[in-house]
């Protein structure tokens, strides 16, 4: 029972921290932080099931989150007119041909009885041929599509469906890619796997940045539809005006608080749903098996557990969860900006959340997500305050003082590094340690 009290106490203090922001800064900011905290927690849940339960190092969070974002575009943006006239079908055909050439070369690799040298040569030519054939087919339709009103569209567009559908689809898309990545790289040792997943996630981001026909690249996709009402519409509703009178705050602020609150409610529901599923999974025989594999692969293998398949399974599930969170994040932002996907913010920060919260414990991951995101956002003003306190006695025009004040924002990187190092050294089990079952 001690554990439960400990968890409740931690969550309570977290909510008090956020409430402090509400009272002293603004409720708008507090809700923004809260929403992003939830998304971060979901991402760290995805990593926790991989690292905490199965010992798989996945540094590809950034890529899966971006795939979730891509699902937003594909599902909910209106389709661009005339793309089919411009030959969108040829792009599909070209990509299918390339995939076929790769699958055929894999088939040659696995099934044919040729010597290794011949296999290398055949596969090399198969893939090169497939690639150039694809380029030959898709190059001109891509040009045509990117030329359709490049300032506004210039990409395929989407299916014009409600955006909520894009969340599970984002999860599916991430799961699909995770299956391919896992199939090829899960056999690697842990640090190679880390580097490989990091590299693959960078490749995904590069594709999203540069393939304008798919995601508009660095031109960004703006104005994604929303699952919640718009502020402007709310401002003319009579019940909103009532609330304005009741709380005595401007109507623009109350409408944006309502929008954020409705996001919070949806996100909270999803977080609780995923948490419940993961808790059930952890308590089930499946979860016991995963932990057995994590703790001793050799003996788990001797017990007849198929380690490769299990690893692939958990890799796909965790990545799907990250994909869902990534889709939610893009919906919340209202735009898809490939440039913002940075490994520091998406991959490494999430890892810090999992480690600080306590790897192997789902509640730990959630509190880690809340706490680290909170400090990631708030350490900027805190750092500024701290620096201005210690430099208060230096006269106003001093070069050192102005330099320090200018760069105070970067204290947060140092701060995050310190938290991670201190946790790993003195409390490697994290805030809420894994439950011994």
């Amino acid at each position: 029972m001690q554990d439960k009290q400990h968890i409740i106490l931690l969550f309570l203090s977290m909510f008090i921290l956020i409430a402090f922001v509400g009272f002293f800064q603004s409720w708008n900011l507090a809700l923004t932080i809260f929403n992003l905290c939830i998304i971060s927690s979901i991402m760290s849940l995805g990593i926790n099931i991989q690292w905490g339960n199965a010992g798989i190092v996945n540094f590809g969070i950034m890529g899966f989150a971006a795939l979730g974002g891509l699902a937003n575009i594909i599902i909910s943006m209106p389709p661009t007119a005339k793309v089919w006239d411009a030959g969108a079908i040829f792009i599909l055909i070209g990509i299918i041909i390339f995939i076929l050439s790769i699958s055929f070369s894999i088939l040659v690799w696995l099934k044919s009885g040729l010597s290794k040298k011949k296999k290398y040569i055949i596969n090399f030519f198969l893939i090169i041929l497939g690639y150039f054939f694809m380029r030959y087919i898709i190059d001109s339709p891509i040009k045509a599509i990117e030329a359709i009103e490049p300032a506004k569209t210039g990409y395929l567009g989407g299916l014009d469906l409600p955006i909520i559908i894009s969340w599970p689809i984002g999860g599916l898309l991430a799961a699909l890619i995770a299956y391919v990545i896992g199939k090829i790289s899960l056999g690697l040792r842990s640090d190679y796997l880390a580097i490989a997943t990091l590299g693959i996630s960078e490749i995904i981001i590069y594709i999203l940045k540069n393939e304008d026909w798919l995601s508009r690249g660095v031109k960004n996709v703006n104005g994604l539809p929303r699952p919640v009402p718009y502020e402007i519409d709310l401002q003319s509703e009579p019940w909103v005006l009532e609330l304005t009178k009741l709380f005595n705050i401007p109507v623009s602020e109350i409408s944006s608080i309502i929008v954020k609150l409705s996001y919070s409610c949806i996100f909270l529901l999803i977080l609780i749903g995923i948490l419940l599923l993961l808790e059930i999974a952890q308590k089930s025989p499946w979860g016991r098996m995963m932990r057995a594999i994590r703790d001793n692969e050799v003996s788990a293998n001797a017990m007849g557990k198929d380690i490769k398949t299990r690893h692939l399974q958990v890799f796909v599930i965790g990545s799907a969860i990250i994909g869902i969170a990534g889709a939610m994040l893009t919906t919340l932002d209202g735009q898809f900006t490939p440039v913002t996907y940075q490994p520091l913010r998406f991959t490494f920060l999430i890892w810090i959340m999992v480690i600080i919260g306590g790897s192997g414990n789902n509640f730990g991951s959630i509190i880690g997500g809340f706490l680290i995101w909170f400090f990631w956002v708030q350490s900027e003003p805190l750092g500024l305050w701290f620096i201005s306190q210690i430099t208060a006695h230096i006269s106003g025009t001093n070069i050192i003082k102005s330099h320090l004040l200018e760069n105070a924002a970067h204290i947060r990187l140092m701060f995050m590094g310190m938290i991670l190092l201190i946790t790993l050294r003195f409390a490697p089990k994290g805030l809420i340690p894994e439950v011994k079952r």
């Binding site: 790289s185 842990s190 580097i195 970067h410 590094g417 991670l420 190092l421 790993l424 050294r425």
Partner: protein, 337 residues
């Protein structure tokens, strides 16, 4: 003549930039490989160590320029390099003392130390941005070119120009010197031999009276030197921005793995494989074929395999390919469980 022109074109756009970038990657990959073999973890903080070295160089360069110490047309950054190397080594040793030493004594798993190195990466990155700011810094002074395109054309009468920047010359020469020194140290000196013995079999090395603390000290001295030189050369060539060094870690890891982690020769080869494949795959061959093909055979388009935007992605693609086909790399490296 046409053939010569095409040859100069390739030299100018692929061979010289490839050698330069390859040298920078090779020096970085050497640092990662040495930490990996001796201290047995993948050091994600290496990029930030390089950045730290570059920052020290920049600060010292400013000091030197302010006090009017000049060495003709030679870049000041190279003159201050020995001092900034010392700063980088001190920083590496401090990090080791306060962070990595604990995990070495605990004999932690390499994955845990990898995550620890991410903590170091965050901290160092923040420290650097705090000291020098996140902006772009250009600290190249002195003569910019060894050979200018115009002079080359005048000299030879060819249509294609050949440019060699002084940063490119300095990079290649310094890399050759450093690599020779490193291999001499590893293969010929007693300390170098004991270091290799320690990395091959720790227990046995301890039994034969090798002092592990001394080996660790020397490892960090070598790593700090390599990181500082690699970072400074990259910064001189491209211009320094703290942000880019985080992204440099991955191509460097790619170089180390492609060559075979744990093998110094592999790290060097890997660096050049990565740099040349980046350039060869993203080069537009149109002009090249313009010289060697008759006019009516010339195809349309730029004749580019991948657009230049994918330049860095090529190194990741190479990395993934090597991991798939031959995880041990070109030269069979050491595998640490």
């Amino acid at each position: 003549m046409e053939f010569l022109n095409s040859f100069i074109l390739i030299t100018n756009y692929i061979i010289i930039p490839g050698l330069t970038y390859g040298s920078q990657l090779a020096l970085g990959a050497l640092g990662i490989t040495i930490v990996y073999t001796v201290l047995r973890f993948s050091n994600f903080a290496h990029g930030e160590f390089m950045s730290f070295g570059t920052m020290s160089t920049i600060l010292l360069t400013w000091v030197f320029i302010d006090s009017n110490i000049k060495f003709g047309t030679f870049p000041t950054a190279i003159i201050v390099l020995p001092f900034s190397i010392i700063f980088t080594i001190i920083y590496c040793l401090l990090v080791d003392k306060f962070v990595f030493k604990f995990y070495r004594q605990q004999k932690s798993k390499s994955v845990i130390v990898l995550i620890v190195s991410i903590g170091v990466m965050f901290f160092t990155g923040g420290l650097i941005r705090f000291i020098i700011g996140p902006g772009d810094k250009n600290f190249m002074d002195g003569e910019r070119f060894i050979l200018k395109a115009k002079d080359f054309k005048m000299l030879t009468g060819l249509d294609e120009g050949l440019t060699i920047k002084s940063t490119q010359g300095v990079t290649i020469i310094l890399t050759i010197l450093l690599v020779i020194l490193l291999f001499w140290f590893l293969n010929k000196t007693k300390t170098g031999k004991s270091m290799r013995a320690y990395s091959d079999n720790q227990e046995l090395a301890l039994l034969s009276g090798i002092n592990p603390e001394r080996i660790v000290l020397i490892t960090w001295i070598i790593t700090g030197t390599l990181a500082c030189v690699a970072g400074t050369l990259y910064g001189l060539d491209k211009s320094y921005k703290p942000f880019t060094y985080l992204h440099l870690v991955l191509p460097i890891f790619a170089a180390a793995i492609v060559g075979g982690v744990g093998n110094p020769i592999g790290a060097i080869i890997g660096g050049f494989v990565i740099s040349f494949s980046e350039l060869l795959i993203t080069f537009a061959y149109k002009k090249f074929f313009f010289y060697i093909l008759p006019d009516n055979f010339l195809p349309d388009g730029l004749l580019q395999i991948l657009s230049t935007d994918y330049k860095i992605a090529v190194s990741f693609i190479m990395l993934v390919l090597v991991l798939l086909i031959k995880p041990t790399g070109i030269y069979k490296g050491k595998i640490i469980e």
